[in-house]
Structures are given as structure tokens and as C-alpha cells.
Amino acid sequence: MNQEDKLKILKDILLKDEHEYASSIEVKLKKLEDLINKQNNLSKHIDPILEDKLEAFIKEMPKTLGPTITQTLQEEIKNSQDAVVEALYPIMGKMIKKYVQKEIQILSENINKSLNNTFSWASIKRKFRSKKSGVSQGDMIIHDQFKSKIEQIMVIESGSGLIVSEYSKTEGIDQDTVAGMLTAIKSFAQDAFTTQIQNLEYIEYENYHIHLQNFSNYYIAVVISGAFTATFRSKLEDKLLDFAQNIINKTDLENSDIFNTKLKDYFDNENI
């Protein structure tokens, strides 16, 4: 055994642990290399973490980024109004055009229908009125299209908001709930303006006008479609006054059947 062999044996004895440790490190490094370099292996480990993080991000995004995005958008719109108008103009323009076209079509169909009913009583009456007043039939028909029309009448007990009587040509709304809400709104307005002398008299709801006429124990709510002109309002007030003073009496208030009949008879042909 020469000197070199002896040294080797000595090295093996002294560095055995280090060799084993270096070998294990080498194996681990190899595994890590496999893990990083082979996409399938890596994605198995990374995907669940990414999915969790992404899910958390999606959940938190409205809270964290929402206000920033909203603020940025608001500022952008404010600073670039011309660009926004330019972008929206074609869309809005088309929408409005389409709506106006549709409405004109409906109006035109209604006018045609009216003109075609040459021998109807309404047509003869209109011709006569046209000759007498000098207003063309066409103008009269157009005027009729926008005429105020009573849709519903509700007689409502002042305090409780309960319906005493009701008449409508078309069933559309829940009268009990609407009567209650109208009464609550009236009460609120009275409280808010701290006066019992004044009353809420008018509410506008999209295409409908709600006229409220107040009496001592009850009030009458009239739902009107079409143009609610001052002339129509004045006539309506007179009619409601006449109805309250001359048509109904105190006992009718306790009998909704009689009240309903009187209301229907009086307003069936709108009578205005």
C-alpha cells in the first residue's frame, strides 16, 4: 500500500459524512431541476396556490380597486367630455330616433283609424265641429291623441288611507297599497311643512298625473294620462266638487257598493 492509497483511505474515513451529504444534496438539486424545468411538475405545485390567490383577488377586487376605478373613470369622463359625447352620440341618437319613429308610427296609425271611421258617430261629430270652428279635422284628431284621460279615480278616507270607493277602466294598480302610500305621502308633507291648513294636491309619476282633491273626511285621487292642462284641471276640480256636493251623501261613505255605482255612473264617460 503506497502513500497515495493510505491517503485515500484516510480521506474516505474522515470525509464519509460530507460525501453522503453532498450526494443527498445532488439528488435534491436534480429533483428541483426536474421540478422547475418540467412545466407539468411545476404547475402541479403552483396552480393550487395561484388559484387561491386569484380567487381572493377577484373577491377583494371590488373593495380594493373599485373606488380607484370609479374615481379614475369619473375623472376621465369629466376631463374628456367631448370624447364621451362623441362616443355616445351615435348610440343615443339612434335610440332617440328609433323611439320618436315608433311614437310617430303609433300616432299615425291612430289618426288613420280615426279618419277611416268615416261613418262613426265620433267622426260625424268631429266633421260638424270642424266646420263650425274652422279647425281642420287633422288638427282635431292630433289634439284628441294628447287629450287628458282619466285612468282611475279613488276616494280615500283622509286619516286611515283606506279606499272608500274606486273606479277604473283598466285594472293595473293595487288600489289599497297605492291609497295607503298616497295618504302617507300627504301626511309626511303636512308634517314636514308643519301646517295642517295646506294639502298636497298633485303628484307626477312618469306619464301619469295624480290630482288630489281634499274634502273634510276623505280626498279624491284622480290618475290622469295625456297632457294635464290647466283648463282640464279646472274642469276636473269643478266636477269633483259637484260630485262631492250633489251626488254623494254621508251614508254613501259607509257603503262602498252604492258609492262605487255612483262613481262609475258619474265618471263612466269621463263627463268632463
Binding site: G159, T177, A179, S187, F188
Partner: protein, 168 residues
């Protein structure tokens, strides 16, 4: 002839007035609390079991108020029946019960009034027994809007009392 009666629910904030009405009218319940602002009105038609009368209950759900004297009097005009609701789990909602009831009875002496201890699902029978000094003296019904316990009975019972009062 159609009979309609106005029922008003009063009580502190968050005692479950809206939940009781929703359970009675729609048979639904939600844990989400939405505070009532002003007043909300719903209705339900019921047939009374004893008299067989058909009656429409127009129910006014008033916003909660810790002090009953702050309730808008105009909302209470013409009321045919009151339901006073408190939360059995929150003593603050029934500490002034006696005074509140006196306040209602003074101003509306002939109007039927029922007192309701709500959220029964959150308390035990032992708890009710322990508090019988308050509950036993005043409460007409223990209800749970969540489970529906006694909810229909409360409204039916009040409606019967209202009809009885109207026939006097």
C-alpha cells in the same frame, strides 16, 4: 261589501316588525336587515276562522323609533288595530313597554292592541319564565318571524278584535 282595516306596527328599531309582516304577507324571511325609512304599506286578505268574515288588512309598517312620542301622529290617524313589537333578546326594546302602552291607550282608547315578544327562536322557555314579571303581564303572543311561530295567529287574532270592535 269589501271590508278593509288599517293595522299599524310600532316598536323600536330592529325588533322585527318588517320581518313579521313579510312572513305574514309573503311567507318569507331574510337575515339581511334593511332599516325601514318612513313607512311601508302592504296588504293581505284573510278569512277569519271564527266569523268567516273576509277582511283586507292594510298593514302600515312604521319606521322603528326608540321613543314612541316621536312617532308621526299623522301615520296613526284612522288606525283600526295596533301591534306593538319588541325584541325579547334586547331589554332596551321592552324597558319602556309599560309607558309606551299607556301612551297608545291614552291616545287611542278603543283601538285593539296586541303586544308581541318577537325573536322567540333566540330565547329559551326558561328565559321567558325568568322574565315573567315583564313578559307575563303584557305579552299577548311570542312570535318568531324566522320560523313563522304564531305569526298568522297574531294578525288573525287582531283582525278578529278589530271586527268585534267595529260591530260594537
Amino acid at each position: 261589501m269589501k271590508i278593509s282595516k288599517k293595522i299599524v306596527l310600532i316598536g323600536h328599531f330592529g325588533v322585527g316588525k318588517s320581518s313579521l309582516i313579510r312572513r305574514f304577507v309573503e311567507n318569507t324571511f331574510t337575515e339581511d336587515y334593511k332599516v325601514t325609512i318612513g313607512v311601508h304599506i302592504l296588504k293581505k286578505e284573510v278569512t277569519l276562522p271564527k266569523s268567516n268574515d273576509d277582511i283586507t288588512l292594510v298593514i302600515w309598517d312604521l319606521e322603528g323609533n326608540d321613543d314612541i312620542t316621536n312617532t308621526r301622529p299623522s301615520y296613526l290617524i284612522g288606525t283600526n288595530g295596533f301591534l306593538y313589537v319588541f325584541d325579547m333578546t334586547r331589554p332596551a326594546t321592552y324597558q319602556s313597554l309599560e309607558n309606551d302602552l299607556d301612551y297608545i291607550k291614552d291616545r287611542y282608547p278603543n283601538i285593539p292592541l296586541k303586544i308581541i315578544g318577537n325573536k322567540k327562536d333566540l330565547v329559551t322557555n326558561d328565559f321567558i319564565k325568568q322574565n315573567k314579571d315583564v313578559f307575563g303581564r303584557f305579552v299577548d303572543f311570542y312570535t318568531s318571524a324566522k320560523s313563522g311561530t304564531n305569526v298568522d295567529d297574531v294578525f288573525t287574532n287582531l283582525a278578529e278584535a278589530v271586527i268585534k270592535e267595529a260591530k260594537k
